[in-house]
């Protein structure tokens, strides 16, 4: 598809202005809040989104997640998630 977003590791993203990311203790999950709506995020989505601060590159986010979870080879997972998040309008390229 031509309008499929292309995400590369040197790009920088932030959570889009329309959304607020926050930790919900009652749900034990990160959520995205927006006008009259809420998306409950799974753990990896929450961990990626909270690192999108408009400064770190995707490569740094991947490295940071790998360090935090003591895991390797997360790059493709992060890139796939980002493509979906862009389609949803959750994140914007800085």
């Amino acid at each position: 598809m031509s309008d499929e977003p292309v995400v590369t590791v040197e790009q920088v993203y932030a959570v889009a202005k329309l959304f607020r990311l926050q930790w919900e203790p009652a749900q034990k999950a990160h959520v995205l809040l927006y006008p009259e709506g809420m998306v409950r995020l799974n753990q990896s989505a929450g961990e990626i989104l909270k690192r999108l601060d408009g400064k770190q590159t995707i490569a740094q986010v991947v490295a940071d997640c790998e360090a935090a979870f003591n895991a390797q080879g997360l790059e493709q997972d992060v890139l796939d998630f980002m493509a979906g998040a862009i389609r949803q309008g959750w994140v914007l390229r800085v």
């Binding site: 926050q22 009652a26 749900q27 927006y34 006008p35 009259e36 709506g37 809420m38 309008g89």
Partner: protein, 404 residues
Amino acid sequence: MPSRDGVGMPMWLLAEVTYRCPLHCVFCYNPVDYAKQHQELTTEEWKRVLRESRELGAAQLGLSGGEPLLRDDLEEIVREARSLGYYTNLLTSGIGMTEARIAALKGAGLDHIQLSFQDSTKQMNDFLSSTRTFDLKMKVAALIKQYDYPMVLNCVLHRYNIDHVQQILEMAEAMGAEYVELANTQFYSWAYLNKDQLLPTREQVEHAELVTDAFREKVKGRMRLFFVMPDYHATRPKKCTNGWGNLFITVQADGTVLPCHVAGMLPGMTFPNVREHSMEWAWYDSPGFNRFRGDGWMKDPCRTCPEKEKDLGGCRCQAYMLTGDAENADPVCDKSPHHERIREVVERTKLAVNEQPIVFRTDRDSRDLMKQCGEGGLKVDERRLFEPGATATEANTRIGRTPA
């Protein structure tokens, strides 16, 4: 605090902070007997409601009314809500919004403003809300953008404005709205009294949906459009409030806690009040909230229906209004033996003229209607819209906080 007994958390809190309102919308969702005796909750009482609900898992807060801007402590309520972590939505007609207030609300942490329009044209807007407000609303729309709030434009659709959907959408685009809700009137409260006037024909609804779909394509990526179908034209009911006492919780101006903002009219039920009970007790333990949870209360055809998990039998209030028994299937369902009641209303939309007078929501009409109901007037189904024993009182006895 974890949820109990498989009951969902009250993630969505609707706070109807006042029933005072400068407008008189013909489709108003406030109870028809809203002018009965009550005292609005104080600032401190609202703060307690917010704190306790947040502990139960509430994350979205709708501040609605009446016109919430008529509370002069709205900024204080918003500040408390934001500091507790709510996403705060103000649902307003815009009347009473000034630049000073919109700035103060921003400072208090308000996240979003939903502005309601009755129609895109001045004449229709003013007629349907029985006031002269259109220019003022346009100014408020500009302020919302200027102060960088996401803007949701809400327009309640009905027979008199549904043919203007194209103009409504163009106006929304010109104003820079991010979301547009075109919500067909749901026939509760004042809209129920006016249903013969307000229900559009099937052709009107289908046309409006086509127009909306085409516009959605055009503004893809910039604006999101929601089109809510009128359920009178459907054959299966909606899953009302996502299940009774399962996601939504409403606190009325006087502190009554309800699973949905019109449930107060259901007969033989007592709903808790925050002046006497905690939000936790109200949600998990009160008889009112447990009355229609799950499907144990169902009668046939719902009880044995293979689709019952999908819609949980529809709306209890609609069942009561149209059939006189809240345990019946929502008559929107064509399996209901009362589906004919819906069909009759739909059939009447085909008539060219309709001599029923339209009722505007005013304090005076609310009091008059309560009186008529008390004296055994009104049609039997209309009498069901009133809380048993509701009596009219002077308007000024209802106000909680007197302006400082």
